[in-house]
Symmetry: D3
Subunit: 239 residues, 6 copies
């Protein structure tokens, strides 16, 4: 089996996480996983949506979007269509859930941080790039909160990163690009918390059912990939 990109089975694409790219946002990150480019901003609001008020805790949420021509062919602009697709909602729910799993919401205080993940260019793996970059932006926003004296302890308990894996031409491979993703027999997205374990596993047999052994192999690749992402996250923030 040869990957379209010539990468090894367990090799990530060239990845860069650049923090602080937005002039205005309290936290931000431009996450590039090869040709997949996602801009993430973390926006701090000192107020909460109605259903969360008065509970002495904060909230972390995410929104996801894709520029209409981020992909090979132009997709319809969701703002013009008047609604977000099921896929968009599924992804933004995944990102929000993954981040909240490592945040002490009581420690955050009655404020909200919104992670806007906008895909500038897509070549597979946009949700995992978004989540990995979102952690950087979120962390930066929490450091800002601390620096401003609004909180005393950083409410983030662990790093979170995500990566996709899949079975391509019968072999498990790490970090699918679009050429692989569109022909994968099975694919999976893994969200991991550094040093703690699994946050989320989403595995789907696209062309055929998959076995427990294959799931195990994909998970092994994901662990190795996330270890590299954790290092890149720390490096992006100078931690």
């Amino acid at each position: 089996m040869t990957r379209p990109s010539g990468r090894q089975a367990d090799q990530l694409r060239t990845i860069s996480l650049e923090a602080g790219v937005s002039r205005y946002a309290e936290g931000s990150c431009l996450a590039k996983f090869g040709d997949t480019h996602v801009l993430v901003t973390a926006s701090l609001e000192e107020s909460l949506p109605g259903w969360l008020r008065g509970q002495k805790r904060g909230w972390v949420t995410a929104e996801y979007g894709m520029l209409p021509r981020a992909t090979h062919t132009r997709g319809r602009r969701e703002a013009a269509a008047g609604k977000q697709s099921g896929r968009t909602q599924e992804i933004q729910r995944l990102i929000g859930r993954g981040l909240r799993s490592v945040v002490d919401l009581v420690g955050l205080g009655e404020r909200q941080i919104t992670l806007d993940c906008d895909v500038i260019q897509a070549d597979g793996g946009t949700r995992t790039a978004a989540l990995t970059g979102a952690w950087v932006a979120l962390k930066q926003a929490c450091l800002y909160l601390k620096q401003e004296g609004l909180i005393t302890d950083d409410p983030i308990r662990a790093q979170v990163a995500a990566i996709s894996c899949g079975i391509y031409q019968g072999s498990p491979v790490l970090d699918l690009d679009y050429a692989e993703d569109s022909h994968a027999e099975a694919d999976a997205n893994f969200v991991l918390a550094q040093g703690l374990g699994l946050i989320e596993v989403q595995a789907t047999g696209e062309e055929r059912p998959f076995t427990e052994a294959e799931l195990h192999a994909l998970l092994g690749l994901a662990k190795s990939g996330c270890d590299q992402l954790f290092a890149l996250q720390r490096q992006a923030l100078g931690l």
Copy 2:
């Protein structure tokens, strides 16, 4: 650890799958997993949505809804709200994807089967009950197609069933009800194809990250649960 319902860790709720409950639909099933009741109808349409026409294959899709008072407190009617929630879309995408994975769409011919899964009463596990019942309704519709001479071979290649599992008070348990689901440390939904393996795994750490060993244990429970569901599906259809 004692389960709220007094069940064993690997024990399903009382489950019934009743086929043919609708007077009009080409296939139907009332799936009861304890107090979770889902009515599924399979509607055959001899036409396809525009984006699928002329490709010499059919389509299987699903829609999901919950009656406003299926739950402890009344939820807003989605038709009145003017849109389906992200959760609804996520579930109906899961059901459609799971069913399509075992259907020969070319063999189905240029027609569409829509599985409407409506939750009459909810006590946890509505998406897995829906998918398990939807397979019964879909199978019935395909048998109808064959009987009417519209197709010669049944396009369904395997049975599909789904079940939820979770870590409750530190222990892996099968088929969560609401009392468990709302306090589970982690929960997972598994979709299995009979004799073929895994179709979909969705596992989430709700209260804490989970380990690979825990994922393995949950999967073991799911396999045993789905074996029982496969038998109930065949029994419902007299196969």
Copy 3:
């Protein structure tokens, strides 16, 4: 004239009203008028919509929906379409208005009861079955309020039931099923308050105008039909 069902002109279909069918709702009723099956739940909320607050009275409202395959051919799911049809809104307004006409809203106190009427299967007369069942569910909710000590007097002043009638092949007949309804020359829906008179009359010439004598004949049938429905409502609640 022979009715498709073989019924006498003044004969109702087999009707059953089963109260208390929902595990969670404060009141509920499964109303079956032959093959028309409507599930009604009454949901109590100790709050009011904004426009009703501070007026020292409560509110009773209704919502109506039809499962997509309740009918011969599948209809579009209103939640997916993003809006309720004019027909749906017309029906839910009728049900709410009919029920409110016999409720002492001041006596109900500053709370709201919502009647969700969902058509599981449709064979004509869904709005009248819904309203007749909704009264049972509403009554049960009011009895619950009294039993819980939240009110001292039952705010319901009278029973309300509804029935359709029509001119079929030149003759007035009671309780149209779909086979009759789709070919009726005229049809009418009557809402009556037990012992008090008419709450609502909606009569339409479908194939031709109708005469005052015909309206009179239809009304006579409706009175006789509602008398039977009133008895069934009391029986369903053991009153």
Copy 4:
């Protein structure tokens, strides 16, 4: 009993029906029932909505709207709210149904006539004024079709008019204005076809149930009122 306007119980408001008020529309009518002013245009389109094509018949439909400040207090503009209210839909369905009941749709040919009924000022009875004026506009459009040689026979079989009646301070009165309508014990809208009988009856007990005798009395008033409206319609068109 004295009516707020000083009118007799069986007295209409000052009514004028002015045909041909629009520069562009194929038919039009400004209907004034006292201070209720409704502008109706009939627009001819030589095409049909998709669901009606190929059936060798035409269609007549109506849309209804109210200028935001047609009433005592400003109402929200439906175009800004993004949807038509249930009341609006109910009214436009009533108008369309009433007009179609006297039109030979096959004779009309494969074309559509849309009656736009826009309330410029409202003082009660807007739906009946709209329907009465809409007949005039529709007739004018059909005469235009005939004059242009597009049809040979006028497809309108009879005149249609509508009027409201109600029980005010215990007495049946004709043609309610807002002052009466807002305090009526019961009100009713009647649609009549000239020389043929009843097209639609919608009677509602607002403050209390009403009796069959009251319904009979209201109907008597409506007949007398519609006879006057029929004469005014003919006069407006010079027939």
Copy 5:
């Protein structure tokens, strides 16, 4: 060059501004620019939208609509389409901005005046007719406020009027009607404040770019046209 209407290049259409045409509104004006007829009402509300509360100032805003058959061919009703077009929003924003530019919002006090501009019939120049009439309705509403003792000083600092001009067959002309507008090489809308200068200029090259000299010529026509409109506004209000 001969104008389709036979008018001189600098000649307005026959214009009438009739104030006080609505029975209910605090201010109103029926503005007729030839066959363009716009009904404007000014509605006073003693409350403000949420985002304006507590700032010790009021607000003036406008909404614009067109009856479906105001034009040669019927347009879709925006309320039925479920949204206002970009054109509609552009126009109502222009009208609101133009009026606010001459109102002392602090002096108005914490209340809102909404100008509803509804086009009854359109023959070009609806936005300028609307704005010119809206000033009359707004002024009337402010006079009402003063008369009622709710304010002591009229918050309107100047008259505002608007007119369109364009290059038609190479020549600058004033007050385009539809026949000219649809073939103009360039057109422009000017909003002027009496005695103060320009409030808004919107000039567009439709068929070709235009020169600064042409812009200058159009502005000259607009000034002369607005002077006439200012006189008509005062006359309409007896000022």
Copy 6:
């Protein structure tokens, strides 16, 4: 008068136009006007919207969006809100109109080019930066069409660029940034066609009316600014 940025009155911000930034789009440009960054892609589609088919000409259109945190405070995501604001629609209409004014639509052939203008970061003047960059992307797409042999002649007749000007502290200044824009007495957007003249002028008195002399001064600045932009556009494409 000192500008917040220290610029001269007639000095543009540092401007860069980078063509070809998108991996997939037929044309693209990242336009930076100081801290205002707009990404524009030109997407070629070999089909037309229904209302344009069969007219033997093509179409050029634009869509505009702003990332939620492009600004100082986060704005609501339009896709989540379910509609585009009036401001968004106004801007995208302006861009489409401006570009079409210099395109030979017949020469383009029956195809559509959509310019997606997405604001990554905003510091005033986003619409003019978007339009200036959109011309570059559009030109690149037309060169691609020619190179692919799909057309023989470039359908673009002239360069188009846009710039904002305003009256700041009494003085006319070129290319407002946000600090100036939010306090400008008047502002204006100018769209110019190179060598041909004015395409569009939109001038608004924000704080006060403005004079014809001021409009003249702003236009002078705009001409000088656009001359520089035209040079930058050619340079970006190596023309």
